[in-house]
Symmetry: C2
Subunit: 489 residues, 2 copies
């Protein structure tokens, strides 16, 4: 039985090479049993004519699939689907999902879905013309070619063995070198290699630190900023910590509001999340002094630290502390892109050693390829150049935002003295910013309602965040105007 040429088609607009496309289509048809073992394929000439491609292209695909065991070639009679094509060892049976379940999951799981309060953003946010959202890649600002080149180097045969290996107890040495010699020193931190751990973004660093401490002190008493980073708060809840929210003002966390008997203080001193406030020197010193006097530790989320373009940034808290009490967490996910999932933790060697141990059981280690690709990007100087460009763009956008917000008479609070990537806005009393976000979405505008940042479930509803990290300058004025119209209504 011959497979008709009508079964074949190519998409010339797809950007994928015709040869690769054809191979994929045939392999896919065999694997899904649309083409069955023993069936004869059209001759390469007929197929090429039908698809309007060179005959050699069709031939090469066939030969390639023969080499890989999908097709058999019979002299003079053509190509046939192999009876033992890879992946055809067992065929799937149609098992109806979820039908005969006898498990009462309420006995087995403490539900978090539905109780966790996290930020939401539409997956298709790029389809909206006015996306005032934070933490996503602005694709136009990213040096794609250079990144791809670094990835190509990382996957090169020379480095493959190292990138592909199971390096449970160690991280990519080039990445660690760079973090130690550049990333951390630029934050005023100098540490030995035994004091750094590569993590799956900042979230993973925060989580590992919490997990480690909560295991030794069940019911760990933890101060968080209010409003603060929701995913940190939820991670603390998951670990069974006792959460003590302390209200932040326009200078960030006031150390003297920290109660007497706490174990851990979580703080984002560079740019407080979400207000953007930068912790002044006096508060930093006071915080470090209290940590020493009262024997607590500090978990520093060096949030958004690269985006200091108005003035040179202040060094990180850990840079000021000699006493080992600060656990420092940083990330490349924000300045590069969030899907990279790469960050680092710096702390006392003893702490890092134990965190590495837990990391091994949870994920082993961040993938070798993302570590090595990033290491190349950093070492070649592309990262700093990219961050410089981001800063220039953000500085400009920030100017446009300030003007637009002024025109629209929208007041922003706690603006960072160093820059940042967002404004925290207090709307009029009585505003429901969550509803506002829903309404604005209809008009192509995305804002981030502030409710989720507050620790209490009956949080004030009139705050929201407007980031300028993913919206082009020329769209800002109109986007802000649309927000203002809704606020005025």
């Amino acid at each position: 039985m011959r497979i008709s040429v009508d079964q074949f088609f190519l998409d010339r607009q797809s950007g994928i090479g015709l040869q690769a496309q054809l191979r994929e289509k045939i392999a896919e048809a065999i694997l899904s049993r649309r083409f069955t073992p023993g069936q004869r394929l059209p001759s390469s000439r007929r197929l090429a004519d039908h698809l309007g491609i060179a005959r050699i292209t069709a031939s090469l695909v066939y030969q390639d699939l023969v080499a890989d065991g999908y097709l058999n070639a019979a002299a003079r009679s053509g190509y046939f689907v192999a009876p033992d094509a890879p992946g055809l060892l067992a065929s799937g049976k149609d098992i109806p999902a979820n039908k005969d379940e006898t498990v009462d999951w309420n006995n087995w799981i403490k539900p978090r879905v539905g109780t966790m309060r996290l930020m939401q953003k539409p997956k298709d946010w790029r389809a909206y013309p006015y996306p005032f959202i934070y933490g996503e890649l602005d694709s136009d600002l990213f040096p794609h070619d250079v990144w791809r080149d670094c990835a190509r180097r990382a996957w090169g045969k020379r480095e493959f063995d190292q990138v592909a290996g199971d390096f449970r107890n160690s991280d990519d040495s080039r990445l660690i070198d760079y973090i130690r010699s550049h990333s951390l020193p630029s934050r005023g931190i100098v540490v030995g290699p035994e004091q750094v751990l590569v993590t799956m973004g900042a979230q993973n660093g925060l989580w590992l630190a919490i997990q480690l401490l909560a295991a030794a002190r069940p019911g760990l008493r933890v101060v968080i900023e209010d409003p603060g980073y929701p995913d940190l708060r939820e991670a603390l809840k998951l670990a069974g910590c006792q959460i003590i929210p302390v209200p932040v003002d326009d200078q960030g966390l006031p150390p003297d509001l920290i109660p007497e008997d706490v174990d851990l203080v979580c703080v984002s001193p560079s740019h407080q999340a979400p207000t953007g406030a930068t912790l002044p020197m006096a508060r930093r010193r006071r915080l470090l002094q209290l940590a020493e006097e009262r024997d607590f530790l500090i978990l520093e989320d060096d949030y958004d630290f690269e985006m200091s373009f108005l003035r040179p940034t202040k060094p990180a808290l850990m840079g000021e502390a000699r006493n080992g009490r600060v656990i420092h967490v940083g990330s490349f996910s924000k300045s590069l892109f969030p899907g990279l999932r790469l960050g680092y933790m710096a702390a006392s060697a003893r702490f890092i050693e134990e965190a590495r141990c837990i990391r091994t059981l949870v994920i082993r280690h961040p993938p070798g390829s993302t570590q090595r690709t990033t290491a190349h990007f950093l070492a070649l100087g592309h990262y700093n150049a990219h961050v410089q460009r981001l800063r220039q763009t953000y500085r400009k956008r920030r100017g446009v935002m300030i003007e637009a917000l002024g025109t629209a008479r929208i007041d922003s609070l706690g603006a960072s003295e160093f820059g940042g990537a967002a404004f925290w806005v207090e709307g009029p009393k009585g505003l429901d910013a969550t509803q506002l976000a829903v309404d604005l979405r209809e008009e192509g505008v995305l804002i981030e309602p502030g409710e989720v940042f507050f620790a209490s479930e009956d949080a004030p509803k009139n705050y929201f965040r407007m980031a300028y990290s993913s919206i082009p300058s020329e769209r800002i004025a109109e986007g802000v105007a649309r927000v203002a119209r809704h606020l005025g209504a």
Copy 2:
């Protein structure tokens, strides 16, 4: 002040392009402040002469570094290190590490380092001529070019936005499609998209499952195979589970030895880790029946399932179970390479939903790039072709191993009926295999001592594992002979 050309050198053997190398060297020198702001660089002509490269190459590097802000160009007088080169905003101070620490970490951390019993292998295992070790890439068997091509596609500008995004609540749809339509069906499992979660390798899947169950039932009573997979045992300990080791025989876990009152049974039915035994059908049915009768769950580690080359593999336990009691964990890390860190979990939709929730707080999601690269590799049919090739090679190596072990009169136990990648060996009573491994290492032979696989700390010391997944056939006989000489001694 001019920088001398003597400061510049290139490595023509490094395999890295001269232009990229030169850029890296200059950027690195600026970032490390070896070249300081204001210093003048050699003219491109002098530099090119010195290095023996084309003048255009030197010029291009200089222009590139000007564009990125590392150098300034002054008309007619040349290139200078920019005073505001990226990354020079703050310089590192030399903070002596660990000196003034005031934290007594014993009050803060429950130490695991030193108490955890995990497998060890030398980082430079490739330098040993006879590596009978498991779970690493055999670089000669891997289709590097094809993989690199898939990575190039994944990083292409067309797909970049998706690969780079923060897709917290979802996984790469192409990867999920493939796992659902091919990977799982080939194991007899058909599930909906809401029943699959992408994980950071099998370890991460096991860990998420344990974490979820242990949070709801503190002191979860868990049966493990003895000997069994050490990293699972340690993850259970970390989660505070009560561990009940059940001895395995040459047919794997005997269900009737499972005590009455347990919550979870962890099992590796395809190829028991480390013995390689395959659980017979009767035991599988009995295990599922007991789970139903006594209301326990089963955590299935579908360990080494691809390596069934002697006979078609048995379907996974989850494929037999309609009652939702089996949580299935699989991995691409073994068949591709461990540094990839990619696997999946399949289970009841309710369970997956909650596991995804925890994953969000721990790592957010596995990196978009590894998911998409793997999805391309799978969809193009390269994965199945690669596994086929591995199977052929392993079949051959297994034959050579059997002959060599026979000649050497080394008995292996519990060999899998389907294949696998290793032999589990019982040495003579009185043997200390841990010491044997140390002695053999001196002679270029790596074996895996068995002690660490046993739950009890005073485990039998006379077992070891010899894998053939990373040693070429022609080295096997001599390697086994060296082991035999030591056993005889």
